[in-house]
Amino acid sequence: MTAATTGKERSGTPLISVDDVTFCYGEIPVLESVSIDVEPGSFLGLVGPNGSGKSTLLDLLLGLRRPDSGTVSLFGEPAHEFDAGERIGYVAQDATKAARDMPVTVREVVEMGRYPHRFFGRFSTADRRAVEEALEQVGITDLASRRVSRLSGGQRQRVFIARALASEADLLALDEPTVGVDAESREEFYSLLHELNTTGLTVILIEHDIGVVTTHATDIACLNRELYFDGDPSTFLETDALARAYGTDQHVLHHDH
């Protein structure tokens, strides 16, 4: 079920294993017989047209939704029963919405990464240290007491990464994190993700910019209700999976880098 079906040659247990999953909203199927493995330390780019079920698949991978049929296992447990929340860092598509209005400082947001370790009671020295280190690691220590709404889009995204780092998460999942972020900050942001990935953090990224994905990801899954491709970026560019997934009348966003 693992290496054979995906054609990957890595060894070891996958971090996430999706086996023949189908998911419907009411009567409408959003995902059909999708099987995919996420290996520890990989950088998986999820691509596909709007409404292709990428966000739904991400929800399933993280155990936030349960499939209608098929199984999802996360860190070796059924995904919906998995309860070590601190191992998952998740930046949802609308995550920065509240950050644009709410009075909340950078440090307060990064501290949320420690919440799964300690939802009640006082923070320990280790908690505080993890927060400081996370701020340091993404280079926002000097912004710590600033209100998040006063930051630029690029800085704000770093705050969310720092939150996952403070949590000491093993898995970072991001759903189109750089919408509305200027090109230069985007590049810096993806370099940071790339760097964190090389230090062992597993990354799952939903991104509409194919160029970003093929540059930084180690694996690509191309989706439009069904899985059109799952493999490494160079093979992906050689196949016609993208064109088939998008259909002929779809506009494919491909920036040159």
């Binding site: 936030l64 601190e86 998740y90 930046v91 949802a92 209005d101 939802f119 009640f120 630029s152 999942a173």
Partner: protein
């Protein structure tokens, strides 16, 4: 399918009798507190300031009640406003009015002696949980359904009141617009109890509540029971709204959960600071409002709200000014490329 989930979270049902019983004991405590601690202190203040109104027991009760409302309102309101569901406090206030009417109607029809405040608590908490269950099904807050519940609650209330025999319409004004003179020792006791309850629950569950408010998706991925805390939030809102209704009035009570919070959001940096500033703004509005109300013989609820809005306007002005004056907006001018972004972000707040 809805029923069992509902009973699981039905906080008020099992605890209702216990609350009443504890309430009875508390009233004695509150009476003692009002007479010997708060009352005595107010007498001293009255002497010092030369203001005899502070010596009247009913004014002492009014001040204490206002102080409690100005604490609980913003504490709960801060979470509501930043989840963009300020509307729910208004909705629950209007259904609480139906609760009052239910109490009066039952008393008249079945010759019971229920406290209308008690039925208001029950109806508001039940509505809060029902609305939350609807939201869980629909996946989003919906203005239209809240408007239906709000007007529906008020409609049922007005029908029950006109269907009830006797002169019960007499007391209705006090519920609609609030009143200082009708604040009883019992009301003050309930308010103090609510302040302690809401204050300690929010302090205890601060992190889960903040996480759910700021980023519910991430909170869920972190395996937090998001539904539980959302339900806790609406139940707390119902409790705060009903206990504050007596002074503020059904129509104006929501302002206490919204206006001071909006004022604080203009100037606060951190979330903790915003709660603190909202409480300060609300306390100022409450004390000034009650004083104005007594001095000029005008409505207390209205006076409090008008002062609160004045505070909001001042905060708004201060915030706008801080963008114009470079020395006030020091932080933002450090990096030139952020000034524009900061302004954009703030533009979002002002709408």
């Amino acid at each position: 399918m809805i029923q069992p989930t509902f009973i699981d979270t039905g906080v008020p049902f099992g605890g209702a009798t216990a609350v009443l019983w504890i309430g009875g004991i508390l009233i004695d405590g509150v009476e003692w507190f009002l007479a010997h601690v708060f009352g005595a202190a107010m007498d001293v203040v009255a002497d010092l300031l030369g203001t005899p109104m502070l010596e009247y027991p009913y004014m002492q009760r009014a001040y204490l009640a206002a102080v409690c409302i100005a604490l609980t309102g913003p504490v709960v309101g801060t979470f509501l406003v930043h989840r963009e569901m300020a509307m729910i406090s208004d909705t629950l206030a209007h259904t609480a009015f139906a609760g009052v009417a239910v109490g009066l109607f039952l008393n008249s029809a079945l010759s019971l002696t229920l406290s209308p405040l008690f039925t208001a608590f029950v109806v508001a908490v039940v509505t809060a949980l029902l609305v939350e269950l609807l939201v869980e099904h629909a996946g989003a807050y919906n203005d239209t359904s809240l408007a239906i519940v709000l007007t529906g609650g008020f409609a049922v209330g007005s029908i029950l009141i006109t269907a009830t025999d006797g002169g019960i319409a007499v007391g209705i004004d006090a519920y609609l617009f609030g009143s200082l003179a009708t604040v009883s020792t019992e009301n003050v006791g309930i308010l103090m109890l609510m302040s302690i309850l809401v204050g300690s629950l929010v302090t205890y569950a601060y992190r889960p509540l903040l996480y759910v408010t700021f980023d519910a998706s991430a909170a869920r991925a972190a395996r937090l029971n998001v539904r539980l805390y959302k339900r806790l939030m609406v139940v707390l809102t119902a409790l705060v709204v009903v206990s504050a209704m007596q002074i503020m009035g059904v129509i104006l009570v929501a302002a206490m959960l919204v206006v001071p919070v909006a004022a604080a959001a203009q100037v606060a940096q951190s979330f903790k600071q915003s709660i603190l500033l909202a409480i300060l703004a609300a306390e100022f509005a409450a004390i000034a409002g009650v004083t104005l109300s007594y001095t000029y013989g005008i409505a207390a609820g209205g006076s409090i709200v008008v002062v609160a809005i004045a505070v909001y306007v001042v905060a708004l002005g201060f915030q706008k000014l801080s963008h114009r004056l470079p020395n006030v907006g020091q932080l933002r001018s450090q990096q030139p490329d952020q000034t524009r972004d900061g302004l954009e972000a703030d533009g979002g707040e002002r709408k």
